[in-house]
């Protein structure tokens, strides 16, 4: 055992990280729970957490869920044909997919959302183009549809990449074998590609659902301030109403969705995501 010269006793190397986890992950979580569970006067209360059931908040939660479920589904429906197209066109190699999907992240996020506002506004670029080709203009500005376009735009790469990674690991021989045995394109997808892509699909759902549900910038810009997601309400509790207790309470009750997400990832490794590009 002494021959191992300590390489197996190296867990002390993680000391700085453990201190960091406690100092900046565990304690902040404890602090937000403490605010959530106390009233401004200092006593214990469940009122802040229960405030999520208040009609105004509940309306925002339901709208957020609609956006998140819709966004997740649309991202899934857009991702599979894209992954299959990349595979068919043999663009899977040499990091083309990653390159194309990560690059937009380098244009500032808020500017990209603002650009969508310019595209979708009533006298914006989309309607200009529609009129040019003789179609009726559409009134998308400040609507749920505009917010949906924004979140799908922002989170689509997070759905495509894990599915793409899972699908590109499928052994070509399996698919050839299925073809030789007479399987058509749809059967191959249903019996081979889809089942083997499920781990990727699950991490995609985890990466898209919670962020699209809790975003507040996209709804702020594309919803024109009238349509509120639960993120907008929490943000206003901190920046406008200055009710930290209520804001923390609402955040904590949101964490139920985060916990569901975590349960998903427990069975599904998140490691190595995104490292292929660099």
């Amino acid at each position: 055992m002494n021959k191992l010269k300590g390489i197996n006793k190296r867990s002390w190397l993680s000391t700085p990280y453990l201190i960091w986890i406690i100092g900046f992950t565990v304690i902040p979580m404890a602090v937000i729970f403490r605010y959530a569970l106390s009233s401004p006067e200092g006593g214990f209360t469940l009122a802040n957490v229960a405030a999520i059931a208040d009609p105004v908040h509940l309306k925002a939660v339901i709208f957020s869920l609609e956006i998140a479920v819709g966004c997740t589904l649309i991202c899934i429906l857009l991702s599979y044909p894209l992954v299959l197209a990349l595979r068919r066109l043999n663009l899977g190699k040499r990091g083309f997919a990653l390159f194309v999907l990560i690059l937009p992240m380098w244009m500032n996020f808020i500017l990209r959302v603002l650009a969508w506002q310019m595209i979708l506004s009533n006298n914006g670029i989309l309607n200009l183009l529609l009129q040019k080709i003789g179609l009726e203009p559409v009134a998308l500005a400040n609507s749920g549809v505009a917010i949906m376009i924004g979140v799908v735009y922002d989170y689509l790469p997070y759905m495509v990449l894990p599915i793409f990674n899972a699908v590109s690991e499928i052994d070509e021989d399996i698919i050839d074998a299925a073809k030789d045995l007479g399987a058509g394109g749809f059967t191959i997808f249903r019996k081979i590609i889809f089942p083997l892509s499920v781990p990727g699909l699950l991490s995609g759902i985890v990466m898209v659902f919670v962020p699209s549900m809790t975003s507040f910038v996209i709804s702020d810009i594309l919803g024109g301030g009238k349509l509120q997601l639960i993120g907008n309400i929490i943000e206003q509790e901190f920046t406008k109403s200055m009710n930290w207790y209520l804001g923390s309470g609402l955040s904590v009750s949101l964490m139920i969705f985060v916990l569901i997400s975590m349960a998903f990832t427990m069975r599904n490794d998140m490691e190595g995501k995104g490292s292929a590009i660099w």
Binding site: S14, I32, L82
Partner: protein, 267 residues
Amino acid sequence: MVEKLKNLISRCYLGLILLFLYAPILVLIVLSFNNSRSRVQWGGFTLDWYSRLFSNRQIMEALSTTLTLAFSSALIATVIGVLGALGIHAMRRKNYQLVMVCTNIPLLNADIVTGIALMLWFVNFMPLGYGSVLLAHITFNIPYVILSVMPKIRQMNLSLYEAARDLGANAVYAFFKIILPQLAGGIVAGFFMAFTMSMDDFVITYFTKGAGVNTLSTMIYGEIRKGIKPEMYALSTIIFVFVFLVLLAVNYLPDRKGKAKKERVKG
């Protein structure tokens, strides 16, 4: 014939998705050359915004804050993360799982909750400013480093380290000569991942920054109601084109691919 048709459909679909992903970017690039402060009217081609950009002190300050923040948070996160990952890997199963759950918290938690929790904690012992934003960025960057280094640690050959020690290398020397080179790919990936995330972050910065400090993101957010300065479009275009060229070089220069292949054969 059917194959050709399928290829055509695939190509069209890919084209549509790319249009969707790049349309807003195209709009921003076009606006950076627009000789009009209006966002909807084309006032002719100009390079004015590019020349004015460098004399705009506010924007230059926000740019330098953003870059130094991204660089230092990525660097510190990489050091803590790599050591952390090496240590965690050696832990017993129970502890390993517990630490990995904690590692996933900032990754899976809603940004708004992470930002608020950090802010509520920071106000107890420090003024909100550059320091608090740096701590926050390191916090959400470390998981990216750990997740990209961990698979490399699993593949690492520990016997090489032991052999080096047996041949008389001390622990530090063997660490730099044997361990680090084996992890290099994961470390570099983790660092750049962290850098990208820090550059792109808005929500966590917004809640932890306090008054007086601005990154490009928070500055742009503050300008939404007044109207974005066109210099900002120019700056974003420069950053975008720069990263585009770097990524192009990194991913497609034939030289690097050849080298990588040789290394694989050797390894």
